[in-house]
Amino acid sequence: MLLVHPVRILGSFAVPILLATFGLSSGGDGGPPAWIFLLGGAAIAVAFGVASWFVTRYRFTEEQVQLRTGLVNRRVLTAPLDRVRSVDVESSPVHRLLGLAKVKVGTGVDDSRIELDGVSREQAGELRTFLLARSRQAGGAAGPGAAPDGATVPAVAGPDADGGRTSYPGVVPAQPDTELARIDWGWLRYAPFSLSSLVVVAGAVGALLQFGDELPVDQVDVAQDAWRWVVAQAVLVLVTMLVVVIVVGWVVVSTVSYVLTWWNLRVVREGRGNLRITRGLLTTHSQTVERAKVRGARMGEPFLLRLVRGAELTALATGVGAGGATKVLPPAPRAVVTSVGHELLEEDGPLTMQLVGHGPRARRRIHVRRQWGTLFLAAALAVPTYLLDVPFLDRLPDWGPPVLLLVVGALNALVAESAWRNLGHGLTRRHVVVQTGAFVRTREALERAGIIGWVVHQSFFQRRLDLCDLVATTAAGAEQVVAPNIPVPLAVDLARGATPGMLEGFLA
């Protein structure tokens, strides 16, 4: 901790310090030499880090976990232990070098997480067991053994912590764990088909294009006839090379990021039923979600991944922050995803079952809705072209706008058809299942007991077609599951079947 903080603060101060250093030292002679600024900055960072170590304390009482931080702005975060819903242990490379970890305690509705930074790795593991065991006890009947008195743990695992394990009150001995999944490096072949690392590559390509202006492509017009052919070939070669570079770069980047993120993945159902996910090469993550807080699962099949029969799996839980979704499996074979998903849901079927489609009126609606975009484009092209005198549109060829419209219209029709084909819903003994999406097919299974309300939304046009968007509200995941463009009678049936009694009395 004493080391982690200054290092991290130094990291976040690095840019300003360097800027200041270069800015001041290049300002002219006579000023103090650059290294003074560097040293000064580093000293300040270290001072800040050490100070924050001195003023950070956490402790556990019978009912609460408390974290005090801040020297000037004092802050005390308190959370009742029975509100603890998830415990994540994270170690960055710096942490791991020093044998430390960061523990994040997720506490429910308001998404404020308590971070205990710089505890020793063993202590982190014990804390996790303790917190989740306590939250379970507090939630249920009184635990075995006497009520513990407040145990205070200093926020440091220094040499003075004498290596002795702090014993936490009321920890139930663990039963053996069952492993649900483990990384299989054969899955690596799915990495390039997932778009999750697209952002990185897009950035790289963007940077490359900065240099594109330097290439002599513009000079094709000026070239002599004899040269023209040669230059044209050169452009072709250049474009081919660029495509190859992008594809190869894509494969490399996506594979590397897959390995970094999912190294050593293990999904474990702990003895008490909690779910634990450990993964990561440089920064290791260990996430534990209490069984009762897992409310469902989401299976995502992006377009490319669908081509090779792969899928991703996410758990929907309450109080885990970041949209309430915890990634469970990387892009992996669909069969693996469905079987692990079913283990997670503790029910067979939701991820493989045949779903009920939303019918011809939904299809019409989706198609019409999609073509609105085409219509807007048509208007945007037609109005300036025929009614107004816009200078730069004169240069377009006459056949340009109609062809563009045709292409866009056809693409929209394809997307709409795909969206309609993917659309569907279903109901099992324990879950409501909804599948949506055109490019990314997403199937969400939400535990029926986790539904805390319904919204039936009908836009003006949906009312004409007797369709609606049925929204199941929940505290888990994105806090809602939407079945779009579902015929009203089907929607009412689904809602009544999923939550018996919630709609009774309001039916016509």
Binding site: T318, I452, H457, A476, D493, M502, F506
Partner: protein, 171 residues
Amino acid sequence: MSPQGMPSARLREPAHRVSPRAVRYWVVNSTIGGVVAWAVMFAIAWFLPEQAWWAVALRWLFVLGMAANVVEVVLEPTIRYRRTRWEVADGKVFVQTGWLSRDQRIAPLSRVQTVDTHRGAIMRLYGLANITVTTASAAGPITIPCLDSDLADRVTAELARITGQTRGDAT
């Protein structure tokens, strides 16, 4: 797909209308907004160049916007009044809102976290109040708009009483 023994049905409308004074409140509210919007648009249009094509397009957009403002004042409040309904029955809140679109929301009071009453300045002139009921889901808040102020107090007290009877974290 229909669960056994249950014929397909549809939702009816909730039983109660909101306060009739809501219409006047909505008219006043839309008028204020409309006047401000007209003023801004006239002011901008005044400074637009005469001939530029984008200025012409923008003027047409303004005309559409002004027409929409008129609709908001003349048509929307009465339609909205007819379509806005609410009901608290059997431990559940059921509210319907919207004038062109329609939103029907249902939440059991056992899952309700908070009950708020809100009175804006103009609403107070007309003796109106909104009641908002929130659940543990960000997608789930239910607002009963423009109730008679006294009624709103009674409903809020009743909702809070029923909500307080359930234990657990309501997720």
